[in-house]
Every structure is written in C-alpha cells, then in structure tokens.
C-alpha cells in the first residue's frame, strides 16, 4: 500500500471536514434524533426502553454511518480528482483505506462518543454503558469499511444513498448482531467477551477484505 497517498488523502479529508464542521456533525445529529424517536414511538416505559436500548443505539449508528457514506467519494469523483488520485502507483488500496479511516474519524468516532449518552437517555444501566461504548468502538470501523465498498460501487449514481443502504445493510448484519448482543449479554448476566471477540474478528476480516474490494469498485467506477 502506498503510505504517502494514504496519509495525504486522510489528512486532506480531515482538513476538508474541519472546514465544513456543521456538515461533519450531521451524522451524529441524525444519530441522536433518530434514537430519540424510539421512546416517543414505543412509549416511555423504562423496562421496554432498557431492553431495546442496545439494539436501538446500534441500528441508529448503522443508519447514521450508511447515510453519511454517499459524499465520501462523490465530490472527488465529480471534480475528477479521484481519477488523478488513482493514477499514482498502487494508490487504489491507499485511497480506499484512507477514505474509510477518514470516514470513521469524522463520522464514526463521534457516534461512539455519543452512544453512552444515548444509552443513559434510554435508561441503560451503568454497567452496560462501557460495553456499548466498546462494541461501537469495534463496530463503527466495520461500518466505515463496508460502507466504503458500497460508496465506491454506487459512485455517481442518482440513487446512491438508498442503494448504499440496501446493499451494505445485509452485509452489516453480523456486526449488528454481535454489537448489540454484547450489551444484551451483560443485561442477561453473561460475559460480553465472546461477542466482542467476534466483533473484533469481523473488524480484522473487514480491514483485510474491504479496502481491496473498495479499490476494485473504484477502478470499475472510473474506468
């Protein structure tokens, strides 16, 4: 992998996000708003909310991550800079990895930080909050990596946003199961470590598999 390209793209994306701070905060705002709708929808019963809290937080994080995916490559594709980037020697992998890393730093990390607050809001017991935090710390990079594949596949399409959701969500189901399951396991009096270990395994698999798939998808999109 081309390290120089990786660093350049990563830093550039962070700088661009910093210059459009409001835009960068949209995913976490969506996350908070969407999760807050659940008590209004299912009723304020603390028992019910406590039960569904990990799942609600995870599903909302999943949607927030997917909805923030379309712009990842769109601007670079529209102004032609993506094609220029891909011209550098073995740059595809570096660009894919850097974009996923930048997406996680900008959109994923705020979700991880906001999740315990949401957990409190939904009445999650204190001992489950660190597990929720940990499961999202392992899980949101998976979402950024998988979403990168979706974003690259749907590059420049009219309905890219919906398509990313449709094609990536089925692939993200294992992450959802183990991520939300970790907190639920604590609730059931079990250890969350098997869930977290499997989530870690998924993360490693995605780290290895997703950037090459994204790079291949980018090559298809610009060729």
């Amino acid at each position: 992998m081309n390290g120089a390209v990786f660093l350049a793209v990563y830093q550039r994306d962070l700088r661009l996000a910093w210059r459009r701070r409001t835009e960068a905060l949209l995913p976490v705002a969506f996350f908070l708003v969407a999760a807050s709708l659940f008590p209004l929808g299912v009723g304020p019963d603390p028992q019910v909310l406590k039960l569904i809290a990990p799942g609600v937080v995870w599903v909302c994080a999943l949607l927030a991550a997917m909805l923030s995916m379309p712009p990842l490559y769109a601007a670079d594709h529209a102004d032609g800079s993506l094609e220029q980037l891909l011209l550098a020697p073995d740059a595809g992998l570096a660009v894919a990895a850097a974009k996923a890393a930048a997406h996680w730093t900008i959109s994923g990390a705020p979700l991880v930080v906001a999740a315990p607050v949401l957990g409190l809001l939904l009445g999650l017991p204190a001992e489950e909050l660190p597990v929720l935090f940990l499961s999202l710390s392992l899980g949101t990079p998976i979402l950024s990596l998988l979403g990168g594949v979706g974003a690259a596949l749907t590059l420049g399409l009219r309905s890219a946003g919906m398509l990313i959701v449709l094609i990536v969500l089925p692939l993200a189901i294992p992450a959802l199961i183990f991520g939300a399951g970790a907190a639920a396991a604590v609730d059931a009096g079990q250890s969350p470590s098997p869930h977290l270990s499997l989530l870690g395994a998924l993360l490693i698999a995605c780290l290895v598999g997703a950037p090459p798939a994204t790079a291949a998808a980018l090559r298809i999109a610009v060729e």
Binding site: V149, L153, T154, L157, R158, S159, L163, L166, I167, L169, P170, L171, I173, P174, I177, F178, G181, A184, A185, L198, L202, A205, G209, A213, A216, A217, I220, A221, E223
Partner: protein, 259 residues
C-alpha cells in the same frame, strides 16, 4: 428453431466445439433458443409428475395432516434460492476472471429467478407456518437468513439496474455478488447464534420424522422441475439480454430483420 444456419460465421464456429464456443453471444443465442424451450418442457413434465405424486399419491402426514404438502414446493424453492445465489456469484466471478460478456449476462439473468425462489420459499414457509406453528412468521434462524438472502438478491438487482453503463453495471454487480457470497456463511452463522441466544421461540421444524418414500419421490420430482424451470427461464432471459446488448452487431441485425 429456424434461427440455425443463418450466418456463415456461425457455421464456421460450429465445426469446432471448444470450451468457449458458447461464450460467443451469437452461438449462445442459438443454443439458448434450443435449450430454453427444452428445459421448459422438461420442467412441465416433472412438475406434473411431481404434483400428481405429491397431491394424490403421497399419504397424509400423521402429525401435520394435509398442510405438510406445502413442503413439496417449499423445500425445492429454498434449495434453489441458495444454489442460484452461488451460481450468480460463480458466473460473476467467471465474468471477472475471463472477462467474458456472456458470464455477466448469465449472472444477471439468474438474479430475478433466484429472488423469485427466495420469495416463494418465504411465502410458502409462512403459509405452512400459520396452521402448523400458529404464526405467519418467527424470527427463526432459517427464516431470517432466507430473508437476508432476499435482501442480497434485491441489492444486486437494484445496483445493476441503477447503473446505466452496461460494462460498469456488470462489473459492479459481480463485485457485489462476490462480496455477498463470501459473507453468506458469516451472516448465516451469526444469525444462528443470535437465534440460539434469544430463545424466544422453541419451535421445531417437524421434519425429523421419517418421510414416506412417495413423499421423497414427489419432492425430488418437484426439485427437478424447479431446476429445469430455472434453467429454462435463465436461458431465455440471458437470450433476451444478449440480443439487447448485441443489437448493433451484424448477426443480431440479420436475425431481427429476417423475423
């Protein structure tokens, strides 16, 4: 099948039959024109025999009564739904590796049939579940993974349909199918684990008991019917795709203008 023996180029290739003979769109078009209807007739024959066996010959199930007869269509549909996804990914991979246009067309042609069988499996399963389990749907591992399989088919078809450029649509769809098939075992085992963890439903599928031979034969016949149907429809759909894509080529023009 009067399409045979029209172009001289086709005649030349007909003399030497190699692995790649039918990777040529013109040759494939003629082959599919023969094989499609043949498979259709075979499917109809097997379906009639299988339905007759299943509805009239096979005995009533001691536990479930008449409703068990849904499995004669449910089980083949569920098998086909899974096999066709693997077939889709296989042709996608072949298209990718060999850069063969026909392989991509085949992958595309398989997708709607696979999705149809997935819907059929889910639908018949739910029709069976209502009288047997007393509910249309349970979040059982098998049902859930079948539903996710449907989402994978829908994702593939939506992506391919959304990209106007044929070449890009083929390749992007192929990549998605390959990523999907790699993920299928992971999804399946995570769903199984999730299901055993949430022991909300302790329903058994009721298929453990010994099956009568006639039941098995009926199921086998209808499985063959579903296979033949899938081949027939995929051949005909691939044929239509090829004709549409090769609309500018000489053989396609000659074919259309003569008809």
């Amino acid at each position: 099948m009067h399409a045979v023996n029209t172009s001289s180029a086709a005649l030349a290739t007909r003399s030497r039959l190699t692995w790649f003979t039918f990777a040529s769109p013109a040759n494939f078009y003629r082959l599919a024109g023969v094989l499609g209807p043949v498979c259709g007739v075979v499917a109809a024959a097997f379906a009639i025999a299988g339905l007759w066996m299943g509805l009239f010959v096979a005995p009533t199930d001691a536990v479930q009564g008449e409703v068990y007869r849904i499995i004669f269509i449910h089980v083949p549909a569920a098998w086909l739904s899974m096999v066709l996804y693997v077939a889709l990914a296989f042709w996608a991979a072949m298209g990718w590796l060999l850069n063969a246009r026909m392989a991509f067309a085949f992958a595309r042609a398989i997708a709607p049939t696979g999705a149809l069988f997935t819907v059929l499996a889910l639908w018949t399963g739910s029709l069976w579940g209502r009288p047997t389990w007393g509910t249309w749907w349970v979040w059982d591992a098998r049902l859930t993974s079948e539903l996710i399989l449907l989402f994978l088919y829908l994702g593939y078809m939506a992506l391919v349909a959304a990209i106007d450029d044929t070449r890009r649509a083929d390749k992007a769809g192929a990549l998605l199918a390959i990523v999907g098939v790699v993920n299928v075992p992971v999804i399946y085992f995570s769903v199984v684990w999730w299901n055993t963890l949430h022991q909300s439903s302790s329903l058994t599928m009721g298929k453990e008991q010994h099956m009568a031979t006639t039941m098995l034969v009926a199921m086998l016949l209808l499985t063959l019917a579903c296979w033949a149907y899938a081949f027939a429809v995929v051949f005909l759909r691939a044929r239509a795709i090829v004709l549409e894509r090769e609309a500018d080529s000489a053989w396609a023009r000659a074919l259309v203008s003569r008809d």
